[in-house]
Amino acid sequence: MKLNPTAIPHGTRTYLFEEAANKRFLEQTIHSHLRSRGFQEIVTPPFEYHESATIGLREEERNRLIRFTEGDSGRIIALRADITSQVARSAATHLLSRPLPLRLCYTGSVFRRARKGKGEKFVISQSGMEIIGHAGEDADVEIVRSIVSALDKVGLSGFSLSLGHAGFIGAILEGCDESDCEKIRAALIKKDKGMLAKILADAPAQKKSKIISLADLFGDGEEVFKKAGAIADSDNSRSALENLEKIYNALRGAGLREKISIDLGEMRGFGYYTGVNMELFSPSGIPLGTGGRYDNLVKRFGPDIPAVGFGFDIDGMIEALAKDISAPAWHGSDVVLVGGSKENADKLRSAGLMVIVPLGETDLDEVKSFAKKMDIPHILLGGSKEGSFSWIKSASGSTENCGLDDFIKKYFSK
């Protein structure tokens, strides 16, 4: 069979012009905002030894790793499925001598085998942040505040953030054997109370009803905390609940009550979460990112250091940008400059405009059609008189005479 050179691997994509601009805008805006809050960027390698790449992954995620072998040693290497664990390793090694807490941010892609028919992506672009070395609620709250203000900076002020707590579920499930735990997790993910009842058929009545009620523990914070308080009967479950309530109250104090819902039955995402976990959605329900507290992950690489973080899903953000908010007006370039000098082009460029100078012989009709097809709103046609240009607007075709300074002034005034 002849291979088709235009075919692309399942789950991969290309970003053209406007989408690429949106991607860069999002990554750049999130990055600069995180920098302004003192997060420092780290860049980690795209693949890892298999032993490291699997740290913190559940079996299902492990099965989706893309693996190959290292030439010399024959060791198995995997494309990273998660950047947080790489950041955790850096904290445990390169950054060990730095004062805690570390505030770290990253932008990059993770890779997971895309299963057919599930709409999954092979390459997932993320921008994220981690606070490593602070166990208190202040760090969790700072992560949420950073999420909220980054969203504000990109123009997504409508969103909904769901908070859960891995420690609470863990405490409620204490004493269940491992295979039951896995089944319970699968049922909780679906909020399938019927299935939970079946799995727990032989469990003591009180324990059974406690675990089943996890599936109902979602909604407004105050209400959920009240219901959860009734089933929190151990030190661990009480302290987990208290921890989440503190975070919630701090966020409520910051005016975020309407945007936050609590879901104490949520048990998804990476296996390494130990405390609060977060799931972000756009107003129309597009997943925008996940995160949480992972106090036992850094320890896997050496020192025992608590940490919390969050990663934005850039593709979700791009979709939300297109659907939920009016993205900033986009065009391919600003001006096609025909018959101008190198100095003219430089002047426009240093004023901040994107300027295309056609290559080779030019025909005005061709330039007009080019500008239209490439979303370039303006054409400047020079050469007839020193310092004077015909300014043609691509959309309407209207023409006026002006000088360069005049054009720049008018361009920025509108």
């Binding site: 909904s160 679906k190 909020k191 019927g194 979602f218 909604g219 879901d263 107003p283 329900g285």
Partner: protein, 220 residues
């Protein structure tokens, strides 16, 4: 279609009538859907809820994609498609079973514990694969979209995996049941983000249904 209103996907076919009854009990009137089989969108303006009528196999897709907030789907399709959605209520109706069947003549001398390699015709490729894989049996699946029972008669496969409710179709085609793979009922499914963003409206709807069903199950 998504805003503060709730949208619901209602299945065509066998589960249509009990589903209309289910929503009626929660105070939502989709009864015009029972008499008008060309129209596919129904509004209960008073309740602020829109219903769309779609093929039952498509409902998990609509719900996962957020095209609707809520849907009613058979457990068979949910497990076959493995969508990332909430399955919040077993509605009790729409009962049937997913079974492995073979011709009566084959069954006489067949010992399933000795199978290592079998050929099965089915619509349910994922469930069938998983079922046999878990038992260490290699299964070659012949994907069909309908009239599954005919496959053994024409020699396409020795066995079939299909839904059975009364067993009449099986019998008419000379097939007998060998093993039940799963019991199936209809489930109330909910989009993940909808449950977070519209939890008040959705929770109260589910609660009304749950209470009504526990007192008085819906019969077909």
């Amino acid at each position: 279609m998504r805003n503060s209103k709730i949208t619901v996907a209602i299945p065509k076919g066998r589960n249509l009538k009990p589903t209309v009854e289910l929503f009626k009990r929660a105070g939502i009137d989709f009864s015009p859907a029972l008499t008008n089989d060309r129209k596919l969108i129904f509004d209960d303006e008073k309740a602020g809820i829109t219903g769309i009528i779609v093929r039952d196999t498509d409902i998990p897709v609509y719900v996962e994609g957020g095209a609707v907030d809520i849907g009613v789907s058979g457990k068979d399709q949910l497990d076959e498609q493995e969508k990332n959605i909430y399955e919040m209520l077993d509605l009790g109706y729409g009962y049937c079973r997913l079974v492995l069947c073979e011709p009566a003549s084959l069954k006489e001398n067949d010992d399933p514990s000795r199978w290592t390699n079998i050929r099965v015709a089915s619509k349910f490729t994922n469930l069938t694969t998983k079922y046999f894989q878990a038992r260490g049996i290699h299964v070659e699946i012949i994907k069909l979209y309908g009239s599954i029972e005919i496959a053994p008669l024409v020699g396409l496969s020795e066995r079939v995996v299909d839904l059975v409710s009364t067993g009449a179709t099986l019998k008419a085609n000379g097939l007998v049941e060998v093993e039940t793979i799963m019991d199936v009922t209809a489930r109330l499914v909910v989009n993940r983000a909808s449950l977070k963003t519209k939890h008040k409206a959705i929770s109260s709807l589910i609660k009304a249904m749950e209470e009504s069903l526990s007192k008085n199950p819906i019969k077909e």
